[in-house]
Each structure stands twice: as structure tokens, then as C-alpha cells.
């Protein structure tokens, strides 16, 4: 099956071909892949060049004119560089858009820090009312995109080069494995490695690709009265900690946060596997962290 990015592009092409109210806005990234679609729909497949502020503002203006924009580029430039446009031109104006990023936390490890944005979900999380989807499989990415286009929501769809072996197409926290010692929440591409890390452990594994709004009721239903919860997120460590704390405010609980590091800027190049290791997000490191936490 094609990877998430190619799946997104072919799905976006389908949508533009069938829905005359949808427009795709690009800032050079992926423009070559959508060139044929742009020739067919020059009014609705728009490449503004390497101008990310204009990318997001154009999406907002299209929404103001009654279209449904899909806005796409790498997450470092879409969310971090153009964050004021996301905050003001979309959120503050109460205009809808589907923002679709590629790059995740370190999908392009050889490109270095300039192309890494592990804080993207935390930034979007500072704005009220956004849907945030973090698919763990290309089929999830397709489904989440198709589900995001109707209506006028503000949605952030975070694609990644890392993926699980099988899709889980549900919404909210989905139970993948049950146990009694505690709960591990795996977000998006973290699921397969969490399943490997918890092999033989007496814990419940919950999976989600729909991280905002956070499924607080699903978490409350899954945890016993005294809860140990481990959160394994593919972006900045502890991004969803406040959601867990709010969901379990009336229950004694402990929380372990795993995600990309906050204590240092990782300056290595190398491979995805190198970065998984540095951040403690490979299956072996996750297993060690979970064993220490659940036996502690």
C-alpha cells in the first residue's frame, strides 16, 4: 500500500475531482504530485510558492468565500512558521480548514532540526476547538481526511513516514489489549512498538488516532479506581498530559509521559531508528520505561 503522504495526495485528488467546493492550497511541497489535478482544476488547486504565511491566509480567504480548503505542507512550516496565521486567520476569524502536514517529529532525520516540528500538536493544542488527527496507517489517513472535509471544522491531520502494520479505523480510544496492572495509551504510529514493548505485560493498551478532542470518557472507562497510565505520543513528551490529568482529576493516578525529548535539542542526523533511540521511542526503550513505571 502507498505510504501516508501518497495516500493523502491521491485522496485529495479524488476529493477535488468530485467536490466543487473543495480547494487545495500548496506551498511548493507536493505541488509536482498534484500538477495534473491542478491543470484540470486551476481555480481550486493553488500553489502559492514558498510562502507559508500566504499559504494559510489563502486557505482562510477561500473559507471566507465559501470554499472548503485543504492546506498542505511540511509541519515545521505549516504550523510553526505560519502559526499566527493559524491563530488569527483561521481560529480568531472562526473560519474552517483542513490542515494536512507531513514530516511529523523527525520523518526527515537527515535534514536536521529545521525540518523537525515535534511541538506542532502542542501549538495547535493551545487553540480551542481544533480537531487533531494523528493517523498510524495510510488507511487511517485516508479515512480521517474523508471524514474531515464535510462541514467547516478546523482540523489538523498530521501525516508521518512511520506507520503501524494494520489500520484501526475507529474514533477515540480503542482497546487493543486488556490487562489489570495499568493502561498504556499509544498514539498513531506508536502502536506497533507499544504492542511489542508490552508483550507479556499485564496492561491494557489503548490506541487513538483522534487525539483532540481527547476521549476522556474512554480513558475513564478503561482505568480502574486507582490508575497507572502511560502515554506514548509521537511528538513532544507530555503534550496530552493535561488531558489525562483532567480526565482522572477525581481518581488517584500516576502518569508516565513518553514522547520526544523536552530537555535537549537533538542535533543528530541519521535515520528514523537513530532518532527513535535518542528519544526513547523504540520498542526496547519503551519496554524499559514501562517496566520501571508499572513495577515502581
Amino acid at each position: 500500500m502507498p505510504n501516508m503522504r501518497d495516500t493523502f495526495l491521491s485522496t485529495a485528488e479524488e476529493i477535488v475531482n468530485t467536490d466543487p467546493d473543495v480547494a487545495v492550497v500548496l506551498a511548493d511541497i507536493s505541488a509536482a504530485s498534484l500538477a495534473e489535478t491542478a491543470r484540470r482544476h486551476p481555480d481550486r488547486v493553488i500553489n502559492v510558492g514558498i510562502r507559508e504565511q500566504l499559504l494559510v491566509s489563502t486557505g482562510a480567504g477561500l473559507a471566507l468565500a465559501g470554499l472548503r480548503p485543504i492546506v498542505h505542507t511540511f509541519n515545521a512550516f505549516l504550523v510553526e512558521r505560519a502559526f499566527e496565521q493559524i491563530k488569527l486567520d483561521l481560529s480568531h476569524q472562526e473560519l474552517g480548514a483542513v490542515l494536512v502536514s507531513y514530516g511529523a517529529s523527525y520523518d526527515m532525520p537527515m535534514e536536521g532540526r529545521t525540518h523537525q516540528a515535534p511541538g506542532d500538536v502542542a501549538l495547535i493544542d493551545s487553540l480551542p476547538g481544533w480537531y487533531v488527527h494523528v493517523p498510524g496507517h495510510p488507511e487511517e489517513a485516508r479515512r480521517l481526511l474523508l471524514d474531515s472535509v464535510p462541514g467547516d471544522s478546523r482540523t489538523y491531520l498530521r501525516l508521518s513516514a512511520q506507520e503501524n502494520s494494520a489500520p484501526h479505523l475507529g474514533v477515540g480510544l480503542q482497546t487493543v489489549r486488556t490487562g489489570t496492572r495499568g493502561v498504556v495509551v499509544a498514539v498513531g504510529p506508536m502502536l506497533d512498538r507499544v504492542l511489542e514493548a508490552t508483550e507479556g505485560m499485564d496492561v491494557t493498551v489503548l490506541y487513538t488516532s483522534t487525539v483532540r478532542p481527547f476521549d476522556a470518557e474512554g480513558l475513564r472507562a478503561a482505568v480502574p479506581d486507582v490508575a497507572d497510565v502511560a502515554l506514548v505520543e509521537p511528538y513532544l513528551k507530555g503534550t496530552s498530559a493535561h488531558c489525562v490529568a483532567d480526565a482522572l482529576a477525581d481518581r488517584p493516578h500516576r502518569l508516565l509521559n513518553l514522547g520526544t525529548r523536552r530537555d535537549t535539542e537533538v542535533r543528530i542526523y541519521g535515520t528514523l531508528a537513530d532518532h527513535d533511540l535518542v528519544h526513547g521511542l523504540d520498542a526496547g526503550s519503551i519496554a524499559l520505561s514501562l517496566k520501571e513505571f508499572f513495577t515502581g
Partner: protein, 232 residues
């Protein structure tokens, strides 16, 4: 004896503005945009409260949200707002703040305040209305100092390349940009393929002429020159 009432006109704007400024001395700061706004709302744009939700209406995007007293005064004069709202403006009870909020104030197409957003949003609006086959005009008002923001220049470059001939950017030039525009503001737009007109921002006929002269295939930039900021 009969009593007749008529719609407020241009002559009422100073009085309406003074309801917000509290005295006559601050008129200059509030009024750099007043003539441009009046000509646009009175003679150029097809918009009003009765067509506020029509998808094919003309659009006015106030980018320079600072000093919106003249804007609110024109919205009162054109029936969007009640005059009684002005005295209480910017209080917690009012829907009219120092920067307009589109979610709260009728007639306000975009919320503004942070500079450099109106023209880039107007690009998208022009593209969207063109895709929907409307012939609406889209006018955005920006300040000469606002052009310092780089986001404007992303938009200035792209607008003419995309042939957005329904788009007009009116730059109210009170010479307040810290580093200025060598060769004039109009040249910045002209270089990128815009049709340009530089006129007095106080001359209603010149403004009307600038806004309505055909400019096929190209976006229009109108530089409306007013008194230098602080020069009164």
C-alpha cells in the same frame, strides 16, 4: 408639521467619530482612512446590511485595524450599527473594540489588529469567489507602515501572477513607515504587475476615479496619500 429623517452622510462622520474620541483633537489620528472608507462604502462597493449574507456581495477587508473609529462611523452611517453604540465603545459591554471583531460586529468581514493579514486573506477570498464564478470586488485597506510586514509582500507578488483583477489594495499613506518605500509605494506594486494609481486620500472624485478606472487582467493598488502622521 412633518418630521423627515435621512440617512447620515459624510457631514455626520466627524460628529460620529467624536462620540468615540471624546473631543475634536484626536480626529486626525482617527480619520486618516475616513475619506477612503466613505467613497468605498458610499459609491464603489455593492454591500450593505440588506445583502450581508449574499455570497456574491462585494467584500471590504479592513486590514489596518488600528484606529477603527472612522470605520465604525461609516458603518453607522450605512446602517450596520446604531449610533447609540458608539459612546460605550471598547467597554466590556460593547461589541466594538479598538480592533474590530467580525464575529461580534455586523458588517465587519475580517477581525484585524495584527498587521499584515488583510491582503493575504483577500488573495484567498478573491481566488474563492473566482472559483465560485462570482464577479464580486474584493477591497482591502492597509497602511503604508503596515507594508513593513513581510506577509504583505508574499501576497503582492502572487496577486498579479494569478490574475486577480477583482482585487484592490488601497494603501492609506500617512508616511509612517519607519524605513519608507524608495521610489514610492506604487512602484512596489507596479513591479509585481499591479495596475497602480496614486491620488489624494482626501479627494473624493480622485478616489472614485481611481477605484473605478478599468484594470483588466491585473489587481489594482490605489495609494491614497494623506497628511503625515503627527503632522497636524
Amino acid at each position: 408639521m412633518t418630521t423627515t429623517t435621512s440617512e447620515p452622510g459624510y457631514a455626520d462622520l466627524p460628529r460620529l467619530i467624536s462620540l468615540m474620541t471624546g473631543d475634536d483633537k484626536h480626529h486626525a489620528a482617527a480619520e486618516s482612512t475616513v475619506d477612503v472608507l466613505w467613497v468605498l462604502f458610499d459609491r464603489v462597493l455593492r454591500l450593505g446590511p440588506e445583502t450581508a449574507r449574499q455570497p456574491g456581495r462585494d467584500r471590504f477587508l479592513l486590514s489596518k485595524g488600528h484606529g477603527p473609529m472612522a470605520y465604525y462611523a461609516v458603518l453607522v452611517a450605512k446602517g450596520w450599527l446604531d449610533e447609540d453604540e458608539l459612546a460605550d465603545w471598547s467597554s466590556a459591554r460593547s461589541r466594538l473594540g479598538h480592533h474590530p471583531d467580525r464575529v461580534r460586529a455586523p458588517g465587519v468581514e475580517i477581525s484585524s489588529g495584527s498587521l499584515g493579514h488583510g491582503l493575504p486573506i483577500a488573495i484567498g477570498t478573491a481566488l474563492g469567489l473566482r472559483a465560485r464564478r462570482f464577479s464580486s470586488r474584493i477591497v482591502t485597506l492597509i497602511g503604508d507602515a503596515e507594508l513593513d510586514e513581510g506577509s504583505n509582500h508574499e501576497a503582492i507578488v502572487v496577486a498579479a501572477r494569478l490574475g486577480l483583477d477583482k482585487l484592490t489594495a488601497v494603501v492609506v499613506d500617512n508616511q509612517s513607515s519607519s524605513h519608507g518605500w524608495p521610489g514610492g509605494i506604487a512602484r512596489r506594486f507596479e513591479t509585481e504587475g499591479w495596475a497602480v494609481r496614486t491620488v489624494s486620500g482626501r479627494d473624493h472624485e480622485a478616489l472614485y476615479d481611481a477605484f473605478t478606472t478599468p484594470h483588466p487582467g491585473r489587481p489594482l493598488a490605489v495609494v491614497a496619500v494623506v497628511e503625515p502622521k503627527g503632522g497636524h
